[in-house]
């Protein structure tokens, strides 16, 4: 297993450690078969790279989109807030592109909650925000690997709520160039205009 380099500022490290402890406590106190693979994905450098996950219509590999810009978002369909906000802005950004530009961009939504999100649910959810957005899922282990590649922080968190558990997660959009390499990230809360600019900046001139 490759060594994971942790380049985290000390103050963030404490928070991550806390998140990890809370998550591990959640695992220890919850039914083992439910939470065995849940873990806080420690932040590492976002190296990007290829992956293979499942869609409602079969396996999908990131490298299928070489020659196009891919834009990734990690979340889940029960996500109350960050996901609808970000995917909505991404959809609006896509609609703001010229048709020949939009045709060269592939939006992808990956679930961090495969226990509750089926491939069909992921497809239906994704297409609501943009008709060609792909919804992908994989096993907890596979998702953990992809999340680590992209430096995604996430942790299942039991809450004293009818929601049972939420998945805390970092909320960046990852923009991948036509060469398959991670080009840039867009922070949470970016407007459709800003997302569109990031997509345009990544498309070949």
């Amino acid at each position: 297993m490759p060594a994971i380099q942790l380049r985290i500022q000390p103050r963030h490290f404490l928070n991550l450690l806390l998140a990890a402890c809370v998550s591990i406590t959640g695992i220890a106190t919850a039914a083992p078969q439910e939470f065995t693979h849940s873990m806080a994905s420690m932040a590492g450098p976002a190296t990007g790279g290829d992956f293979s996950l499942d869609s409602a219509t079969g396996p999908v590999e990131l490298k299928q989109f070489r020659g196009k810009v891919a834009v990734l978002y990690f979340g889940y369909t029960s996500c109350p807030d960050a996901c609808p906000t970000t995917l909505s802005a991404l959809g609006a950004a896509m609609r703001g592109l010229k048709p020949n530009e939009a045709a060269k961009v592939q939006p992808i939504f990956i679930t961090l909650d495969p226990a509750r999100d089926s491939a069909e649910q992921m497809q239906e959810y994704s297409r609501f925000f943009y008709p060609t957005m792909l919804g992908l899922r994989g096993s907890d282990e596979k998702v953990a690997v992809v999340a680590r590649q992209y430096g995604v922080l996430y942790a299942r968190q039991k809450v004293d709520s009818s929601a049972n558990y939420v998945v805390d997660h970092s909320s960046l959009l990852y923009v991948i160039g036509v060469d398959g390499k991670l080009a840039r990230s867009v922070p949470y809360g970016a407007s459709p205009t800003e997302i569109k600019a990031a997509l345009r900046a990544t498309l070949p001139r």
Partner: protein
């Protein structure tokens, strides 16, 4: 049809504003439109308190979901975390905005999909004993905030 819809929405919004009890008024209540398969969504609004004492929203009820709770979103260690809260304070002579990424009323376990324009009944209960029932229309929400643009990856 569009005019009827627009008028209905205006009436819905204004009926929300017109209900003033104990100095509390609600403006612009709305429910976020989410995909039909989504189980949860949020209700947002601005709560104004014209009274001399702080007031707390302690409970919300609605028939459209199994559970209705008060929530906030915090950011810790680079992650967005949604957490239930026991109450939401509206300061005397002040206002509190319930909005995405912040305080909101959470509808958990929707009984059926809520299409755009549908009027969702919501009852809000406050610690001064007052309560208000209003209708929040389902709306497509866009976040126009501008923050620093994309950062190139090394």
């Amino acid at each position: 049809m569009k005019r009827l819809f627009f008028t209905a929405m205006l009436i819905a919004v204004w009926s929300g504003v017109a209900l003033a009890e104990g100095g509390i008024t609600i403006s612009d209540p709305h429910v976020r439109l989410v995909p039909p398969s989504a189980e949860n969504t949020g209700i947002f609004m601005v709560i104004h308190n014209q009274g001399d004492k702080d007031v707390k929203l302690i409970r919300a009820e609605s028939p459209v979901a199994k559970s209705v709770e008060l929530h906030t979103v915090i950011e810790e260690g680079g992650m967005k975390k949604m957490r239930p809260v026991p109450d939401i304070t509206i300061k005397a002579k002040g206002e509190t905005m319930l909005k995405p990424g912040d305080y909101h009323v959470m509808l958990i376990g929707l009984y059926k999909p809520l299409p755009e324009g549908e009027e969702v009944p919501v009852t809000l209960k406050f610690d001064d004993g007052s309560s208000q029932t209003l209708k929040a229309p389902v709306r497509k929400i866009q976040m126009p905030m501008t923050i620093p643009a994309a950062m190139p990856m090394k």
